[in-house]
């Protein structure tokens, strides 16, 4: 190991060494010696002229006070020169530090042990302690999103406070935001290296092109864990079939390798707070155990699944999951009277209220089918437009009369599943404007589901939680309505609308953010959640409420609306529960290997010199003030 010589950050302060000259001069000029009258100097003269007394060591001892003063001055000057012990590593002046605070960072390494976040905090504290005077650190917490904890600063108190405040977010990991935030900083500050401190429980593939060096500091892995990774319900004839998936990561005793040991796990299902089922299940390490429950209810109900592993469980946040089951109701579909083909197709399907026609028209429906750009009719979650080009695309595509065919379509799209569009003849011909390509539609937020030779035919767009399907041709002017695929497509549309309305199935909400809600326009609401979390927000003029955070696992309540909304957020992340760590992060062009070595930093030494200076000062003060023994007062 090469020996690193100490360096100095403020070498200019070495000029202060010139103070040694006046110090020595003044010492000998102003030496304070107590006078003592003695009978005769005869013997002391002999003592002083003794060769032993004048040995170099004795001479050295005679001027101890001067020596202490020189040491004190040298200590202060060395401290002012700000020495540091170079680690040999390239030193970054501006250093962003990304600290992973996703759910897996709460994993303990042993019963009553240390969490990954605690370990990360220790590493960051070491970085802060070794901060050199010209270095600045910016702390960024990274979970599903990134949050800047501090600006670039060398204020250690500020940095330590930020580290102390940092908590585990009960959300899955996602590195991109943090990396992008560091990239944005590099436009203002020269950033060569970014430090990432994580347990390695992150997606190994990162969709981000690294513009800087990434130092991936990997922490030790957590212990055995059992957690709920999925919790959903599907509507059945008699009620709801509820499914849950539990995974375990326990390794065999004393063995390294894959987690294959079995763990007994007690689970409990609560319906509206009342236990309805309680059993014990054996979870095999590395495999998922699927639990199925039947819940017969005709009203909206809240389900809560709790598990209690037998033995050590390193992560607590994945031991509970919440699921909201909506009350069953018919799907509300709005289809104008003129669109006979659709109305006829819809009329054959069960549990559908078709408007206009089925009683008074509601303010909002689950699906709205339209053949023109008119914004009449009720509001909806899923919009299906046919036969026109929306205003925002008018400069990209033009609808002309002509004949065209579908040349390609996305067969996996939910709308077009099992729909054969080959040889469908279309009498409208949407043509792309000159110089317009597929990229322009993406920029406008549209995704092309089907296209002809001259341009797109079917587009999909999601805006503010609203799903819009846009057919640039009218189905009535195509042979599609005579094909078997048409009722299948309408069925797919109904399925999509029913799913959007949570009528077919219901999935437990993951932590991170609550789903968008539609309430009274411009209404201020208050969200209260677990761990005392509260947030206030206001719906927009359309009554749309989005961006509500759900950082913790637990029940949330939205008040301020006509009726309080109850939601539950769960971790439900196989990655977080599995505590699987990656050794290498793969970026589009490079891969970054994890390093478990201690981050090399230059060690500032001025503190030691300051302590030495204080010590010499005290010693000198004591020595100076000490009355020589035997001298009469």
């Amino acid at each position: 190991m090469p020996m690193n010589l100490p360096g100095f950050s403020a070498l200019i302060n070495a000029w202060w060494f010139l103070l040694l000259v006046p110090l020595i001069i003044f010492y000998f000029l102003k030496l304070r010696r107590p006078r003592l009258e003695i009978p005769s100097l005869a013997l002391w003269r002999q003592v002083i002229s003794d060769q032993r007394v004048n040995s170099p060591f004795q001479k050295f001892k005679r001027n101890l006070l001067l020596l202490l003063q020189i040491l004190l001055l040298c200590s202060l000057i060395f401290g002012a020169m700000q020495p540091y012990l170079s680690s040999g590593a390239e030193q970054a002046r501006y250093l962003p530090v990304l600290i992973d605070n996703s759910a897996s960072m709460a994993a303990l390494d042993a019963p009553n042990g240390k969490s990954r976040l605690d370990e990360a905090k220790e590493k960051v504290s070491k970085l802060i302690d070794d901060l050199l005077p010209d270095q600045r650190i910016c702390l960024i917490s990274v979970s599903s999103t990134a949050r800047k904890l501090t600006d670039f600063t060398d204020n250690k108190r500020l940095l330590r406070e930020a580290v102390a405040r940092l908590e585990v977010g009960q959300v899955p990991s996602r590195l991109e935001d943090g990396l992008r935030m560091a990239q944005a900083m590099s436009r203002v500050q020269p950033i060569d290296t970014v430090v990432l401190i994580s347990d390695g429980n992150v997606p190994s593939e990162v969709d981000f092109e690294l513009p800087y060096k990434l130092n991936f500091q990997k922490l030790g892995s957590g212990g055995a864990n059992v957690g709920i990774v999925d919790f959903n319900a599907r509507r059945s004839r008699t009620g709801w079939d509820v499914f849950a998936r539990i995974e375990g990561t326990k390794k065999p005793e004393g063995a390294e390798g894959p987690p294959t040991a079995k763990t007994l796990c007690e689970y409990e299902l609560l319906q509206n707070g009342q236990p309805v089922k309680q059993e014990t299940v054996s979870i095999e390490g590395g495999k998922a155990e699927r639990l199925v429950f039947k819940v017969a209810t005709s009203i909206a109900t809240s389900l809560e699944l709790r598990i209690k592993p037998d033995g050590f469980d390193s992560l607590a946040s994945d031991n509970v999951a919440f699921l909201e089951i909506p009350a069953p109701r018919p799907l509300a579909v709005y289809c104008p009277m003129g669109m006979e083909t659709y109305r006829e197709a819809l009329a054959t399907m069960p549990d559908i209220n078709l408007y206009p026609g089925a009683g008074s028209e509601p303010k909002a429906v689950d699906l709205k089918i339209a053949e023109g750009p008119l914004s009449t009719g009720p509001d909806t979650r899923v919009q299906f437009n046919v036969g026109f080009v929306p205003e925002e695309l008018s400069n990209l595509v033009e609808l002309v009369s002509g004949h065209t065919e579908v040349v390609d379509w996305r067969r996996t799209a939910p709308l077009l599943q099992h729909v054969q569009l080959l040889d469908v003849q279309i009498a409208d011909d949407p043509k792309l404007s000159k110089g317009v390509g597929e990229r322009d539609f993406e920029l406008a937020g549209y995704e092309i589901l089907a296209q002809s030779r001259s341009g797109p035919l079917i587009l999909e767009k999601t805006i503010d939680g609203k799903l819009v399907y846009q057919f640039l041709f009218h189905t009535d002017r195509s042979s599609l309505v005579y094909r078997v695929g048409f009722p299948i497509m309408v069925q797919n549309l109904i399925q999509i609308a029913a799913q959007r309305a949570n009528l077919l199935d219901s999935k437990a909400l993951p932590t991170g953010s609550l789903p968008p809600q539609r309430i009274t326009p411009e209404t201020e609401i208050r969200v209260s959640g677990p761990h005392g979390y509260t947030e206030t927000a206001k719906s927009d003029k359309d009554g749309f409420l989005s961006g509500l955070a759900a950082p913790y696992v637990g029940p949330y309540e939205i008040t301020g609306t006509a009726e309080p909304l109850k939601l539950g957020a769960s971790l439900l992340s196989s990655g977080e529960t599995g505590l699987v760590t990656v050794e290498k992060l793969h970026f589009p062009e490079v891969a970054v290997s994890a390093s478990t070595m201690v981050l090399k930093t230059d060690q500032p030494l001025w503190g030691w010199f300051a302590i030495a200076g204080l010590f010499f000062l005290l010693l000198e003060w004591w020595y100076f003030q000490k009355r020589p023994a035997g001298v009469p007062v």
Binding site: R35, L36, I38, P39, P628, A629
Partner: protein, 299 residues
């Protein structure tokens, strides 16, 4: 009448004085004057102490013939008696400034008084010299004998102040210029001098004086407990000496003090004299009855 007024002298209390009066000096050599005295010297004296016989020769005093032997041997033999001669006791007190520390000078005066009393009570001639300032003539108490002189001696000593810079070696030479007579010379000094002691010791020996060297030192000299950086001031000449880390030099100091004592003891011994170093803190009784009696200086 107060208690102090009952005392014969302030130097010695009456009990000590009475004890000292019964003590005698024990010189190693019989250095006496020709004048008659109380000290038994060589043969041929007229004391009552028998010494030897010798053949009668014409002119001898008929009174000293041993007639009993003559009747047995029919030959005359003359009885010889020991000669009783006078011994001179010279007491030199170092009254320089270095003696005023602690009880050094007080103890020196007490010892001088004690030795003087012992001399007077043994019918010796006693003379005292006190040396203070260099270059000046020592203060002298001329030789005196007899119990009647005791008051003079005490008065001389009581009125003797310390102070001055007379080195002991020069003081001895100055005393020898004034003194005539053989006997013993009691030196009461701290012997802390920059000069050499060989020459004055030789002069004392040549003058027929047996040296009783008594070095009186105080605790500051015997066991200096000092530390730190100090500036020592010589009490006699005011010279200064800066000493750093005195505590570290104490060991060397003791070495040099021991060396000085050995040197002085050797000088005295080589000249048939005696030397002792006394702590001025010891009481006079302890010095007289314990130290000096044990060493055979007095009886």
């Amino acid at each position: 009448m107060t208690e102090s007024s009952k005392q014969f002298t302030s130097l010695l209390d009456n009990t000590t004085l009475g004890r000292v009066e019964r003590m005698r000096l024990l010189p190693m050599r019989r250095l006496t004057n020709r004048s008659r005295g109380e000290h038994l010297a060589g043969k041929g004296g007229t004391s009552t102490e028998f010494n030897d016989y010798r053949d009668y020769s014409a002119g001898d005093d008929m009174r000293y013939i041993d007639w009993n032997i003559f009747s047995r041997l029919n030959r005359p033999y003359v009885k010889l008696y020991r000669h009783e001669e006078e011994m001179h006791v010279v007491i030199l007190i170092d009254a320089s400034a270095s003696m005023r520390f602690a009880e050094k000078f007080e103890r020196a005066k007490q010892l001088a008084a004690s030795f003087a009393v012992m001399g007077l009570m043994n019918l010796e001639k006693v003379s005292l010299f006190a040396c203070q300032h260099a270059g000046e003539t020592p203060q002298i108490l001329p030789p005196c004998t007899g119990r009647m002189s005791m008051k003079r001696i005490f008065s001389f000593l009581e009125n003797l102040p310390p102070g001055g810079d007379f080195p002991i070696e020069e003081a001895i030479e100055a005393v020898l210029k004034q003194h005539r007579g053989r006997g013993i010379c009691v030196l009461l000094s701290d012997f802390l001098t920059f000069g050499a002691m060989e020459r004055p010791m030789n002069q004392l020996f040549s003058a027929g004086l047996e040296v009783f060297g008594i070095q009186l030192l105080c605790s500051l000299e015997l066991n200096p407990e000092l530390t730190g950086d100090m500036r020592f001031v010589d009490s006699e000449n005011g010279m200064t000496l800066d000493v750093s880390s005195v505590g570290d030099l104490i060991g060397f100091y003791h070495d040099h003090l021991g060396g000085l004592q050995d040197h002085l003891a050797t000088l005295c011994r080589q000249r048939s004299g005696r030397f002792v170093c006394l702590d001025s803190g010891l009481s006079l009784d302890t010095i007289l009855t314990d130290v000096l009696k044990r060493k055979g200086w007095v009886q």
